[in-house]
């Protein structure tokens, strides 16, 4: 591997990756069984919280972000910031039900006053 900065010079072992894999499987079981116990908080922690932990473990150990140069971290952070700007820039408008001089129209509810009469 001529241009691989991580792997020059010494023999790599598979054992650490198998250990991480086993932890990921345990977390997978937690993420499936946990939400079945009921409750929004338990679901958020066991399903989404554990998903974040699993994703971070895959990124850190399998993708080797834990030993990658900071340049890559900045690159990924830039993408995440763009995403956050999009989400938080749009969220207030999407989530609000009314504002100054405007009101969200509920298209799903039947309107008795404006619907044309059927003949």
């Amino acid at each position: 591997m001529s241009d691989n900065a991580h792997s020059e010079g010494h023999v790599h072992s598979a054992k650490p990756y198998i250990r991480i894999y086993c932890i990921l499987l345990v977390l997978l079981v937690i993420s499936i069984v946990g939400p079945m116990m009921g409750g929004l908080t338990v679901m958020l922690v066991t399903a989404f919280g554990v998903a974040v932990v699993k994703a971070l473990m895959v990124a850190a150990y399998f993708m080797h972000l834990n030993v990658e140069k900071k340049y890559i971290w900045y690159l990924l952070a830039m993408a995440a910031i763009f995403l956050a700007v999009m989400f938080f820039g749009v969220a207030p408008d999407v989530m609000n039900k009314d504002g100054v001089n405007w009101k969200r129209l509920d298209h799903s509810a039947p309107s008795s006053s404006t619907a044309p009469a059927h003949h």
């Binding site: 691989n4 993420s31 939400p35 009921g38 990658e68 990924l76 993408a79």
Partner: protein
């Protein structure tokens, strides 16, 4: 060696990161915005529509869990292929790449079963916004799985000859990202419904 035989970009390393690996990370940065944008839009809608929990109950939790297990296992295989390639063990590198491709194939078969079952029960992409998000996100993810499998298949002959072994690491990084995306799609479309 003529300057035209090897592209200039592969010979320089301004950041201290091999050009191929840097390129993969740039691709993944753009993928973060693509998948992240889709997931962010889904979340915005999901917060406003708690009734989507009823729609989400029709996704198959067991199939999603099996696919998560399959992708995590294929991620292990591709990282083992990377370890083997680092040790110049071309036989095992090729073997683990083939197992990773098989993992992708199993994932797609399970997904095809899910789609068939859901569509046959009337849960098509036009049924509601929830199902539009579900099919868009999972199909886009499925296309990435197919792309990864194709590239791994194209690498196999070179890996067997011990050529360009650094590419095993590059496709591995991509494959792990595909795995990470699924780790978020799984709770969003499958688990959240089970808890409701």
């Amino acid at each position: 060696m003529s300057a035209f035989q090897v592209p200039i970009a592969t010979n320089r390393c301004a950041t201290g990161i091999p050009t191929g690996r840097l390129a993969i990370w740039w691709v993944l940065a753009s993928e973060i915005v693509i998948f992240g944008g889709l997931v962010a839009c889904y979340l915005l809608f999901r917060f406003r529509h708690p009734e989507w929990a009823a729609e989400a109950e029709h996704t198959k939790l067991a199939a999603g869990a099996i696919n998560t297990f399959v992708l995590l296992t294929s991620s292990l295989f591709v990282v083992l292929a990377h370890v083997a390639a680092s040790n110049k063990d071309t036989v095992n590198a090729r073997k683990y790449l083939i197992w990773t491709i098989l993992g992708g194939l199993i994932f797609l078969c399970v997904k095809a079963y899910e789609y068939t079952s859901e569509i046959s029960h009337g849960y098509t992409i036009t049924r509601s916004v929830f199902w539009a998000f579900y099919y868009t996100a999972t199909a886009l993810h499925g296309l990435h799985v197919i792309g990864g499998m194709t590239i791994m298949g194209l690498l196999l002959p070179d890996v067997a000859k011990g050529k360009n072994l650094q590419r095993v690491e590059y496709i591995g990084i991509y494959w792990h990202f595909v795995d990470v995306v699924w780790l978020f799609l799984f709770p969003l479309f499958y688990i959240a419904s089970a808890a409701s």
